[in-house]
């Protein structure tokens, strides 16, 4: 397995940030400590020899009942190296993540979706609202303790008149 340039450079620059580097099926995943997230992503983006400038995807995974419970996964692509890189951070329930929407504009909607589905809040996000579900919805569906059929499966739909809103 060829070593990952980004992993080596990160270890040199932020020795205490890198928790784990995994290679699986040809992909590289680096787990970093949450407080270094912004610095690491900025470094990966701006470093001449790496240039991971595109945030392809950002999502969460719920490992309930593990602690810390959630994992945030940032998938980066470098046009220059033609390589992908997964950056993972662990985050507990109730913790707030740092928004990266000023580094990658794509994160603006992706973070809203993570908030919508997992209830993870992002600090300094310009407009953190639900994106796919309605504002009145309660609960976070992609959490493992959210029932598949929803909380109100057996209830009839309530009719909300305009004047009652």
């Amino acid at each position: 397995m060829d070593r990952c340039l980004a992993g080596d450079l990160l270890k040199g620059k932020f020795p205490e940030a890198v928790e784990k580097i995994e290679y699986f099926r040809g992909d590289t995943a680096i787990t970093i400590r949450r407080e270094f997230l912004r610095e690491v992503l900025c470094f990966l983006k701006d470093k001449e020899s790496l240039n991971y400038e595109m945030l392809v995807d950002l999502t969460g995974v719920d490992f309930f009942p593990a602690d810390p419970r959630f994992m945030l996964v940032y998938l980066l692509h470098s046009m220059k190296l033609n390589k992908r890189l997964l950056i993972k951070v662990w985050i507990g329930e109730g913790d707030t993540a740092e928004s990266v929407s000023d580094i990658f504009r794509a994160a603006e909607w992706l973070e809203r979706e993570v908030f919508d589905m997992f209830g993870i809040k992002f600090k300094h996000h310009p407009d953190l609202r639900r994106i796919l579900l309605s504002d009145e919805f309660s609960g976070y569906p992609l959490r493992k303790d959210f029932p598949l059929e929803g909380h109100d499966f057996a209830k009839p739909f309530s009719v909300l008149l305009e004047e009652e809103r």
Partner: protein, 391 residues
């Protein structure tokens, strides 16, 4: 001094030109858009949550319902991700046929885009031409898969079955005829002065913005960025075929139109190469008995095969623990699947990376400062499918 006032209007969710249930909240200064806020989610069915309760082979059918204009591409992306997780090879014949299906599907999706996009802007004739060929493609796909929109034909490890004898001659006939048909569309639009006035320098997006917003597919390439998953991370033997990646320069609606038309020509080229090179052989990796059900013929004759088939379909298989991301270049952009497996027959997490979702995220950037009449052209040019955005 008079007070400056903006008018807020709702465009959608029921609007013929928003291609589904997209709602745009537009703040207008006269006819100029000051701020645009897309509201999505009207078509949310919870596909990601649902798939966590299904086995890997069951979840395949949900992928048909994402980008319903190119269901076979979705099947392909999902199967590639699962195959990557399982670490199994797919026979060459199946890989080549997958490429052919994906490219036919791309042509069908692009034709649907061309028809509706032109119709939105007011060029109605194109619709009749483009739908004629789209119908031919859908008939060809129906011949193999038995379905027009929800085939679920590409399966984990290969294909559901081999192609019928009548299939290849039909494809050959189509491939020979199609370039002439694209010429016909071009005579209607490419040098059409009205078309150019409605599309040139409308809703431009710079290359840097595209990358920052995570925009992929024809929209990204129209801005001059060379990124095509088929070239960057070749899958399903795309490296065996010779094709170009068309690029634009200005990144406006017109360039996106040109890029897509050129892409159809390239798809046609790929299909004709598949026709030439298509090898004989099995259509699925039946050697991976742990994961791939035996051929249907065996199931009716051999009791062991029947049991294995039953176990695989009812219980599902147990993949190794791990996480993979695999993506394809669908007609809209990079369609990726990120799967986290805990070793059980159901995925712990199945994340769909929909191209349209991120492409739509850049819409406010494209249209702010533009005229309200151009919103329609901009939406059409991104080629969104709400089934994929809302999941």
């Amino acid at each position: 001094m008079a007070e400056r006032r903006f008018m807020t209007i709702n465009m959608g969710p029921q609007h013929p030109a928003t291609h589904g249930v997209l709602r745009l909240l537009l703040e207008l200064d006269g006819e100029v858009i000051v701020k645009a806020t897309p509201h999505i989610g009207y078509l949310h069915r919870g596909v990601e949550k649902l798939s966590e309760s299904l086995t890997y082979s069951q979840a395949l059918t949900l992928t048909d319902r994402l980008d319903y204009t190119s269901a076979l591409s979705n099947n392909l992306a999902y199967c590639l991700a699962v195959e990557k997780l399982l670490d199994i090879e797919v026979p060459k014949r199946a890989q080549y046929l997958r490429v052919m299906f994906a490219e036919l599907q791309r042509i069908a999706a692009h034709l649907l885009w061309l028809a509706t996009h032109a119709l939105d802007i007011g060029a109605m004739t194109v619709l009749f031409y483009a739908f004629r060929e789209r119908e031919t493609v859908l008939e060809i796909l129906e011949l193999v898969t038995g379905a027009r929109l929800t085939p679920s034909f590409i399966r984990i490890g290969g294909l559901a079955q081999d192609i019928p004898e009548t299939f290849l001659p039909r494809v050959r006939e189509f491939v020979q005829e199609f370039p002439r048909r694209i010429d016909e569309y071009e005579t209607l639009l490419t040098d059409n002065i009205i078309w150019k006035k409605r599309t040139e320098n409308i809703a431009p997006l710079s290359a840097a913005d595209c990358i920052s917003y995570g925009v992929t597919g024809p929209v990204l390439r129209a801005s001059g960025v060379y990124y095509d998953v088929r070239k960057a991370y070749p899958y399903s033997s795309y490296e065996d075929f010779d094709f170009e990646v068309p690029l634009g320069t200005r990144g406006d609606v017109y360039d996106r139109y040109l890029v897509r038309l050129k892409e159809m020509r390239q798809s046609n080229r790929i299909i004709s190469q598949v026709l030439e090179k298509l090898p004989e052989g099995p259509i699925a990796n039946f050697a991976a008995t742990q994961f791939v059900p035996p051929p249907k013929g065996d199931v009716t004759r051999d009791i062991a095969a029947l049991i294995r088939h039953f176990k695989l379909i009812s219980e599902g298989f147990r993949p190794p623990v791990g996480e993979v991301y695999a993506s394809i270049e669908s007609s809209k952009g990079e369609l990726g699947f990120y799967i986290v497996s805990d070793g059980s027959p159901k995925p712990l997490r199945l994340r769909i990376r929909p191209p349209s979702f991120l492409n739509l995220g850049a819409l406010p950037r494209m249209i702010e400062g533009q005229m309200v009449a151009d919103v329609i052209a901009a939406i059409g040019s991104i080629d969104i499918v709400l089934g994929e955005i809302d999941r």
